[in-house]
């Protein structure tokens, strides 16, 4: 049974106070990026063996499901897909986070000795990944855990580095990367949002750290 809360299909709108700066990916680029990641996974026999894809709720889950289909199309066995709700593992749960809306964690059987590929839509500070790693390890002892993200936008606050990335982009901390997916939002798009000018016109270019792209 699903909770009555949460993001349901509806017209796509930027969060209040933000506006679209530009489109980072369209449906085709998203599809190409996922296909490439699927092939990269299959090309590493160690990862393709006993593979489990685990999506981070909300949008990591449909991404993991798509990847599972693409991995099968690339010639490997269809991997099982799990869903991870990291709310209860957040490091800010009792301080600044809004009241939690829980959707639950589901694993497709034991993960002991398997290769878990953690799938998320946007990789940013790395704190979500830290929480996800802790939660996965509470469920069992996988042989290895890998990380796949559709977008890596930089600004890591923890020593975390992805294994599979759809697109790496440079952002400022004031911006938001919004991933929209057919399954949740009725369309496939990745948008870069910026703060809408309240009254005064703001600076045209970003000023934040620029050269903070992906670096292992």
């Amino acid at each position: 049974m699903k909770g009555s809360n949460g993001t349901r299909r509806g017209p796509v709108a930027a969060p209040p106070g933000f506006r679209v700066r530009r489109e980072l990916m369209d449906a085709e680029r998203i599809a190409r990026a996922l296909t490439r990641i699927a092939h990269q996974i299959v090309e590493r026999p160690r990862d393709a063996q006993g593979l489990v894809l685990v999506g981070v709720r909300t949008r990591g889950v449909p991404l993991a499901r798509r990847l599972a289909r693409l991995v099968a199309q690339a010639g490997a066995p269809t991997p099982p897909v799990g869903a991870l709700d990291i709310t209860l593992y957040r490091d800010d749960l009792t301080t600044v986070a809004p009241q939690p809306v829980l959707r639950g964690t589901e694993f497709p059987g034991s993960i002991d000795g398997r290769t878990v590929v953690l799938v998320d839509d946007v990789l940013y500070t790395g704190r979500t990944v830290r929480a996800a790693l802790d939660e996965i390890i509470d469920f069992g002892r996988p042989a290895r855990i890998k990380l796949a993200a559709l977008v890596d936008r930089g600004h890591r606050e923890l020593p975390i580095c992805p294994d599979y990335v759809g697109q790496t982009i440079t952002t400022s901390r004031e911006e938001i990367v919004q991933v929209l997916l057919e399954e949740e939002d009725r369309e496939d798009r990745v948008l870069l949002l910026e703060k809408a000018p309240a009254a005064t016109p703001r600076r045209p270019a970003r000023s934040g750290p620029k050269k903070r792209g992906r670096r292992p």
């Binding site: 909770g3 809360n5 593992y89 009792t94 809004p98 009241q99 809306v101 639950g104 589901e106």
Partner: protein, 309 residues
């Protein structure tokens, strides 16, 4: 975002339907943790909860303790029978002294109605009412609602009979409030001596169990609370069972898929026949499991999420 915008959980009477739904949805999301190989999440690490029980309790206290441990809160339980209350310390003094140890929450069971409200006025900690006299027992009503919603898929429009010692029952009061807020139709049934004055303003009252059970989607049986009875409210257990006990024959009057609930502890052979308590329509043990989930939800909503919104 809808949620639970209060600092305490003192009763059902003051809650909005959306807040009740928030607790039930949160509990639903948390239940799965109890089936995990490692039944613990770090959500409330570093939070301290005091369970202060001035009345005996098995289920409520155990399930609060389990809920606290699963969510990684530190908890300590104090029962009045083994505490300084025996030496004459007042509730307020006890609470103030405990509060000097900086707990984040106090879960209170007390024989006086309004005890939890009283603590909420005088303490900084979040207060959860785990039963105050014959007034309210909000987490019990929430776990009953969760059990009904799981089995029936809804609360709205359900016909629910609440049968037994309504006069002494905080469970009945909390349930009447909750179920009527959520759009269920409640019927109360008790001997005239065990009907509190004024309750008929909240729900219709009958003195015939057959009438109450007729066509019911669920029957909640209440315990005869001898420890609170000062006079003779009915002639004998045997006669009570004959007139008001839930027997198999009476269950047949309800809907085919009726659910039988009992908050426990049961007096088998008095308010409920053993065949009914152990029968296929009984969800009494589901109630206990859901009790842990609901208490986890209350802990999380009050202590997680940065508190008030």
């Amino acid at each position: 975002m809808s949620g639970y915008p209060h600092r305490h959980l003192l009763g059902i009477e003051s809650l909005q339907p959306s807040e009740i739904v928030a607790v039930l949805d949160t509990a639903e999301g948390l239940r799965e943790i109890l089936d995990r190989p490692l039944k613990k999440v770090p959500a409330l690490r570093g939070k301290t909860v005091v369970n202060l029980f001035y009345e005996p309790s098995t289920r409520t206290r155990a399930s609060f303790e389990v809920a606290e441990k699963v969510l990684s809160a530190d908890s300590l339980s104090i029962s009045a029978s083994a505490s300084s209350a025996q030496k004459g310390e007042t509730l307020l003094d006890t609470a103030k002294n405990l509060e000097a140890m900086n707990p984040d929450m106090i879960v209170l069971r007390h024989s006086a109605a309004g005890a939890a409200h009283f603590l909420a006025r005088h303490c900084r900690a979040a207060i959860v009412n785990a039963g105050d006299g014959a007034h309210e027992h909000p987490t019990q009503a929430l776990l009953d609602a969760l059990t009904l919603r799981q089995r029936k898929g809804r609360l709205e429009g359900l016909r629910v009979a609440i049968v037994g010692d309504i006069l002494h029952s905080r469970v009945a009061r909390s349930n009447v409030w909750l179920l009527s807020k959520m759009g269920a139709k409640v019927v109360l049934c008790a001997p005239p001596t065990l009907v509190p004055p004024g309750i008929d303003a909240l729900a219709p009252v009958t003195h015939r169990i057959d009438e109450a059970v007729e066509g019911a989607d669920a029957v909640m049986m209440l315990r005869i609370q001898r420890e609170r009875m000062t006079g003779a409210y009915f002639p004998s257990d045997r006669e009570y069972h004959l007139r008001f006990g839930l027997t198999e024959a009476r269950v047949k009057r309800a809907k085919k898929d009726v659910l039988i609930l009992h908050p426990g502890p049961m007096n088998r052979g008095v308010e409920i026949a053993s065949e009914v308590a152990d029968g296929p329509y009984s969800v009494i043990l589901d109630q206990v499991t859901n009790g842990v989930a609901v208490r986890m939800a209350v802990l999380l909503l009050l202590l997680g999420g940065g508190g008030e919104s």
